[in-house]
């Protein structure tokens, strides 16, 4: 008798947050808003990503990145934060690891800072309010580049 395991399941879609080898992509979320952090966590974990760290300001974000490196694949970085803003934190992270994949999270009206971030080495950006589709699209395309 053939077991169910012998048949390929055509309905099964590969989760976006999982690599070819089945290991999840590991994400560090840097944001001073508890709401946005939870929202990003919810979107990413539902797609199989693993959130390995959360930081509430740029300084903590840089510190956590250095701690986690090389066991972190992606950073989502808010632009406006206390202590150290997201652009300065991005600069410090790129200085430490020029291959870091950092995606900026921006409120509307910060085009100049977004441009500056992309020049420094951010891979992409997402403008708030965040929606699931937009977040996943930008993140997945940055990981595949």
């Amino acid at each position: 008798m053939r077991t169910k395991g012998d048949f390929p399941n055509i309905n099964e879609r590969k989760a976006e947050g999982v690599r070819e080898d089945g290991a999840p992509y590991r994400v560090l979320v840097v944001d001073d808003s508890m709401f946005v952090t939870k929202q990003i966590q919810q979107i990413l974990t539902s797609e199989g990503f693993e959130v390995v760290g959360v930081a509430v300001d740029g300084a903590e974000g840089v510190e956590k990145y250095k701690e986690l490196h090389p066991n972190v694949d992606l950073v989502t970085m808010d632009i406006t934060m206390p202590k150290m803003d997201g652009v300065s934190a991005l600069e410090k992270i790129i200085e430490f690891d020029k291959n870091a994949v950092v995606i900026m999270i921006s409120a509307l009206g910060k085009q100049d800072l977004v441009k500056q971030s992309l020049m420094i080495g951010a891979k992409n950006y997402i403008v708030k309010p965040l929606d699931r589709k937009k977040v996943l699209e930008r993140i997945v395309s940055s990981l595949n580049r």
């Binding site: 508890m34 939870k38 539902s46 009206g109 309010p129």
Partner: protein
């Protein structure tokens, strides 16, 4: 106060609320207040400084704040809250952030240049807000969760 300052906030509030609450928003009649006025219970305040200066208040009752928070959280697949805790405060603050972000883009496009303070959240009963030498324009937004008042008091420097 010139109405052109309040319109971007009203338009932004309308579009953000419609998007994040996923419900019909009805815009009420605009009114002017030059004396102090009561705060409904939960208010996010954002300061403006530059070509124009003043403040914007997003004001609602505690009950509306709870309902709005839970509508936002559940629509994004997050857990609802039972009391207006830190997560509730972060959610209303973020709502204010989204609205002011969009409004400021519109005002910058009209040629006004100024900076914003991060939103601060005020909660409590029997509070009043007074603006010396500048009157406040208020636009109520009605939805199934209650009323959210967009209260703008700004002047040209």
């Amino acid at each position: 106060m010139r109405v052109e300052y309040i319109n971007p906030f009203v338009e932004a509030a309308y579009s953000v609320l419609t998007e994040v609450l996923n419900t019909d928003i009805k815009r009420g009649e605009l009114f002017l207040k030059s004396t102090s006025m009561s705060v409904l219970g939960v208010a996010a305040i954002v300061g403006l400084a530059g070509d124009v200066e003043g403040r914007v208040l997003f004001d609602m009752t505690h009950d509306t704040a709870m309902k709005v928070t839970n509508a936002m959280l559940t629509s994004m697949g997050m857990e609802a809250i039972a009391t207006f805790d830190d997560m509730g405060k972060a959610t209303i603050t973020e709502l204010a952030n989204m609205i002011t972000g969009q409004a400021v883009t519109k005002l910058h496009n009209l040629g006004f240049s100024f900076d914003l303070t991060p939103p601060a959240l005020i909660t409590g009963q029997n509070m009043e807000i007074s603006d010396q030498r500048v009157e406040a324009l208020i636009v109520p937004m009605e939805c199934q969760y209650g009323r959210i008042e967009i209260n703008v008091a700004v002047r040209e420097r």
